[in-house]
């Protein structure tokens, strides 16, 4: 049986008294691939921020491998939205990846040999090792996003969180990113927040619809409707289906 990786129990959160998440319960096992969908302002990003410890939980608990999620940050890998990247920043790909490394034994100056080897290993995992010394701004959107995934992999996390990983990336790039995630999913749990429903559903084994509350479905048995001819679900249609199920 797969080991339990993430457990969220009775989690509620409010910003200045306005409730954003209510009574969230979620349990993910090793090798689960969860797609998180929902309307803007529904609480998707807040949930990510709570798991990452950017926001502090007041009601409820979040544990990773049975421990408080903020006790060991190296267990979580995080890939922020592609749009947050400053492309003119003078920084090499390897330096970006090294930012993901959490290690108490950091040298006083520069980077340690072990850290560099680890970063190059992460780059190799995403097929970007040859670009280690390239300025990040010179890469394409898809390549940059692979570098961000390499940064998140630097500590060999048990849980990988991705926020809109394919936003502003062309179709080929999107497919490559999801194929890479599929490969990584063989040995780690993945959570993807995405509006890119049709692609996400081809790879996720669970879908969570969040709009203050969370509804979880297994993708293997939940849809009795035939997908449109082009194979693409519209997010609105999908949300309506979830609402229908909850009604």
């Amino acid at each position: 049986m797969n080991e339990k990786i993430l457990e969220i129990k009775d989690l509620s959160f409010a910003y200045n008294g306005d409730s954003v998440l209510e009574n969230i319960n979620l349990s993910l096992n090793e090798k689960d691939f969860l797609a998180v969908i929902g309307p803007n302002g529904g609480g998707k990003s807040t949930l990510l921020k709570l798991i990452l410890g950017i926001l502090k939980t007041k009601i409820g608990t979040i544990t990773i491998n049975g421990k408080n999620s903020t006790d060991d940050l190296s267990k979580i890998g995080y890939v922020p939205q592609n749009t947050n990247i400053n492309t003119s920043f003078p920084i090499k790909v390897i330096e970006v990846v090294l930012m993901g490394h959490i290690n108490a034994k950091k040298p006083l100056f520069g980077y340690g040999k072990e850290e560099i080897a680890c970063a190059l290993g992460s780059l190799a995992q995403v097929g970007m090792q040859e670009f280690a010394n390239t300025k990040i701004g010179l890469l394409s959107g898809g390549q940059r996003q692979r570098v961000m995934i390499a940064r998140a992999l630097c500590n060999h996390p048990a849980l990988l969180l991705l926020d809109e990983p394919t936003a502003s990336i062309d179709v080929n790039g999107q497919k490559q990113i999801y194929e890479l995630l599929k490969e990584l999913n063989r040995y780690m749990t993945i959570i993807v927040v995405s509006h890119d429903i049709s692609v996400t559903l081809n790879y996720a084994n669970k879908v969570a619809y969040i709009n203050k509350n969370l509804t979880l479905h297994n993708t293997t048995n939940k849809f009795s409707v035939t997908p449109p001819l082009d194979g693409h679900f519209c997010e609105v249609e999908l949300m309506q289906m979830f609402r229908g199920k909850n009604a």
């Binding site: 922020p80 003078p90 920084i91 090499k92 520069g110 980077y111 300025k135």
Partner: protein, 272 residues
Amino acid sequence: MLDIFSVDFMQNALIAGILVSLISGIIGSLIVINRMVFLAGGIAHTTYGGIGLAIFLGLPIFLGASIFAVAASILMAFLTLKYKERMDTFIGLIWATGMAIGVILIDLTPGYNVDLMSYLFGSILAVETNDIYAMLSIFATILIVVAFGYRNILAVSYDSEYAAIRGINVPLFYTLILVISSLGIVMTMKVVGLILVIAMLTIPVFIAEKLSQSLVGMMIISSIISMMFTIAGLVVSYYYNLTTGATIILVSVIGMMLFLGYEKIKTIAFKK
């Protein structure tokens, strides 16, 4: 040409110019990549309050200006971190308040007839040995902070949200960047004055940004470019009897335009 540096005051000016170029190359890079140019302008102008305070209390000008600049940078760091969306309002407010305090304190100093021009446009030719020691110590401080804190400064500058998630104390390093910038700004003001300081901090960095792959590379290249502009400006101002600070800035602007022209020609040639 080397004869002009046989005179004592020109030797001091040359050493000061080189030191300030090194300082502005480092902090200018930090200011530009963190998009803090307006903040740096705010600190530079607020520092006039420190100059006024030093004159009023009879303290060394550098000391008064440095203390005031550091205090202003900490206040600005606190306000911009806490009220990000109102950042420009607070900077403008502190900027004007600092200058007003400076003007009033100088008014209140009995019998003091201040040469405003030297603070507004710099006075590199009036640099004394003590000023050089002050610049040297500020340069050493900036170098130590950047060397030891490089990876955290880089992480905070590149992606502060991710840096926070990785456990880096973002407010601390953000404040540290502003504090060393404020010290660097005070030193740079001695050469080009508070009006022109922003140009000296940004023009060499603008060119270096296009030539460098990393932050440390950007700092080194912009320091070298800054040094070239400063020495060229010093020589031109000496021979044509012009205000040195303003000449350095005009030489920098011409250098930047030549670089942009070269870039444009290169692009056209590459397309053909």
